[in-house]
Amino acid sequence: MASSHGTPPVFNNKVVAWIDHRLPIFSYIEKEYHTFPTPRNFNYFWNFGAIATVMLVLMIATGIVLATNYTPHVLMAFDSVERIDRDVPQGWLIRDLHMNGASFFFIAVYIHIFRGMYYGSYKAPRELLWILGVVIFLLMMATAFMGYVLPWGQMSFWGATVITNLFSAIPVVGESIVTWLWGGFAVDNPTLNRFFALHYLLPFVIVAVVALHVVALHIHGSNNPTGIDPKGPQDTVPFHPYYTMKDGFGVMVFLIIYAAFVFFAPDYMGHPDNYIPADPLVTPAHIVPEWYFLPFYAILRAIPDKLGGVLAMFGAIAVLFILPWLDTSRVRSATFRPIYKWFMMVLVVDVIVLGFCGANPPEGFWVPLSQLATLYYFFHFLILLPVLGKIERPLPLPPSIADAVLKKKAV
């Protein structure tokens, strides 16, 4: 597609040429990250893939350093985290980077998911790319949940108890599964041990799935704000320097906001109860998960039946897997879908409402509100999307990306 495509790169450096002849890593980087033809019209929403990647690397780096000082034992875990905070050189910094990094990783990924949904990035031929993304999201949730257990505070312990108990809702085998997950009859030392092992493992699994995600992305290239495919060189620019620079800028802005939290409000997104050591005999008055799980927690509690609540919560994520087939519209970008555009915004509000419902105790008007919001969430995916694609009349699509960009400039 791009002009430079097809001509194999020539390396002047003899060592580089020697290696590349045997293991073409330099050709690969050249092709996929330098000359790679990329739509010329990205907006800042297209920064969040790169930002999420940076956060993943940052989480692994800080996590490895933390693991060198952490002790996964019920009698020592809490104190070892306090020691990291107080005694270990720069331990406070590494820990706050890791703690807030989880939140900011989720912020980046939620914006990335919104981008995909608004601009129809999940539509053919990018269905598997999208599904791999949902797999990454699930792995992130598992990793974050197990990581939150490690400091062994009250919220760690009771969060682990409530979430693992979800599996007891499964008929017949539920209780055995929970015992198996715990390695005992309650959340205890065996649970903490295995959660630490898995919390260390899963990020590397995420790296592997991210690699597949990128491979799938580079087959058909990125979607773009118009949702129409590039038709020739006039529609694309090489990835480097154009988008390395734009991504670099976006990453810097994101990291500045992140650093502001790390240095000035490291516990803002946490819960004070997690600075009380875990006590299996006393439940905190109000158990809440981390903010990034709140919408799903609200869906869990919205259903007055235990098994029903668990199914709805997992269903809320499962529905994302089949999103490419639920949306029947052939137009990708919401820019050209006058009705979908507004419903997409309503969904965002709905998820934020669910978040507030999850943060508040299930009393009073929060109960019907969370039920209404849960109903709307499933309505959006299961009824609205299939129907809307059939009845909505999309706006005329521009003939090409270049056309859309240049016309915008002229106005």
Binding site: V162, N165, R194, L281, T283
Partner: protein
């Protein structure tokens, strides 16, 4: 698949190769499952965890109207020395008023089938999502039915530990226990 690979010469037995393929595949499958089993079972409770599954409690110091919490299998166990009024209240409830119908008598019977209505012994874990209900300490809220109240999602239990209101599906679980003497109870 193997039907296309029927040997041309002599042997006109097309199912022989198929049989070998299926048999080999099945054996490999059994082998894989047998290999996976130790890895899966490895995560189940270990012998030392299982060994902690019995405790003995001396109930003599618990006065009428008092309750204690002991730890068993990492979970709290409530032992309540019920007052005659509490017992009467629990026995008076018609089974039709209960989401999980159980008589009070059946919840105060030890493994030797001896009924001791004054001693109510239960696992202090809410059957909804595993929180510890309040009501065992003197100042705790006991909920609308005078037993226990779970602060997490608002389940109320009566003086027999039976669910009366809220999202919990079941009564508080009565573990297996045996009074070896009038003052010594073995739980587990």
């Amino acid at each position: 698949m193997a039907s296309s690979s029927i040997p041309a010469g002599g042997h006109s037995d097309p199912t022989r190769r198929d049989f070998l393929m299926v048999a080999t595949g099945a054996l490999a499958g059994v082998g894989a499952a047998a290999t996976a089993w130790p890895f899966i079972n490895n995560l189940n409770p270990a012998a030392d965890t299982l060994a902690l599954s019995t405790i003995e409690v001396n109930v003599t110091p618990i006065q009428v109207g008092q309750a204690v919490t002991v730890k068993w299998r990492g979970k709290p166990v409530f032992i309540r020395h019920r007052t005659p009024e509490e017992i009467k209240e629990a026995e008076a409830v018609p089974l039709s008023a209960l989401p999980d119908p159980q008589t009070d008598n059946s919840r105060v019977t030890d493994t030797a089938k001896k009924v001791r209505p004054e001693w109510l012994i239960m696992i202090g874990v809410c059957t909804h999502l595993g929180c510890v209900p309040l009501g065992n300490k003197p100042g705790d809220p006991k909920g609308e039915y005078g037993g226990w109240f779970c602060p997490c999602h608002g389940s109320s239990y009566d003086t027999s530990g039976r669910i009366r209101k809220g999202p919990a599906p079941k009564n508080l679980v009565v573990p297996e226990y045996l009074f070896s003497t009038d003052s010594l109870v073995r739980i587990g």
